[in-house]
Symmetry: C2
DNA sequence: TGAACATGTGAACAGCCATTCAGGCGTCCC
DNA sequence: GGGACGCCTGAATGGCTGTTCACATGTTCA
């Protein structure tokens, strides 16, 4: 209920909070590595765990979160579980963030540009 | 330098960690509100604090983090500080995340789609 | 010059989150 | 059937982070 609270907000608070949650999911190198692997195609938990260097338990926890927000999709086959990216939004987010990171890769965090 | 470390990673670990930090900056409704306001043009700290409902001190802390990662830019004029978005990447990230959020807005987190 | 103003900063505290450990459930193979 | 395998889950713990408070810095105005 902010659309008439006096301040002109272009987006709904609900959407903002939801977006923040999605960003929170991506704010972890482990999960990001997971998603980076899934860009090349679907993979099961063992492969993802081995590929990212994380434990299978941790990988399972991470995938659970990503599933809950429909960032990844799962296909069950026997005792295996094959995961893949849910939609193209994630890939775009990854691309954009990586582009921004490389673009401002020169200065590390906590170092504020003192010039100017 | 991991492009040939044995595991096929499409992106450098360094870039991944950096991207995760950027996502971490966006994983907060307060900072997101800040950036949403800045989409309409530059604004000073007082306006941003009032607009987002946060304290001026907290707003300053948030802006400091965003500055450090070159997400926002600052223009000083007297005792005022006018902030604006640093580049178009941020806006694209916001757009994409909001689109994803609205697209899967039907089900709340922690609720996993049980249907196949 | 002195007071009010706009912003920046540092430290402390509370709440959240990722990681790990231990174990459970369903499935494949002999 | 029995055992190994693959995956999932719940609880506990340590570390990180956002928020707040108190104050410092630089600027404008009378």
């Amino acid at each position: 209920m902010n659309s008439h609270s006096g301040v002109p907000l272009a987006v709904s608070d609900r959407g903002l909070v939801d977006a923040a949650e999605v960003f929170g999911l991506l704010a972890d190198p482990g999960r990001l590595r997971l998603l980076a692997m899934l860009r090349h195609g679907e993979a099961n938990v063992g492969e993802l765990a081995a590929g990212t260097g994380a434990s299978e338990s941790g990988t399972s926890h991470a995938l659970r979160l990503l599933r809950a927000h429909q960032v990844v999709r799962v296909r069950r086959q026997g005792r295996m579980a094959f995961y893949s990216l849910a939609d193209a939004h994630v890939e775009l987010l990854l691309q954009t963030a990586l582009a921004h990171a490389e673009h401002s890769e020169l200065n590390h965090p906590e170092r504020e540009a003192a010039s100017a």
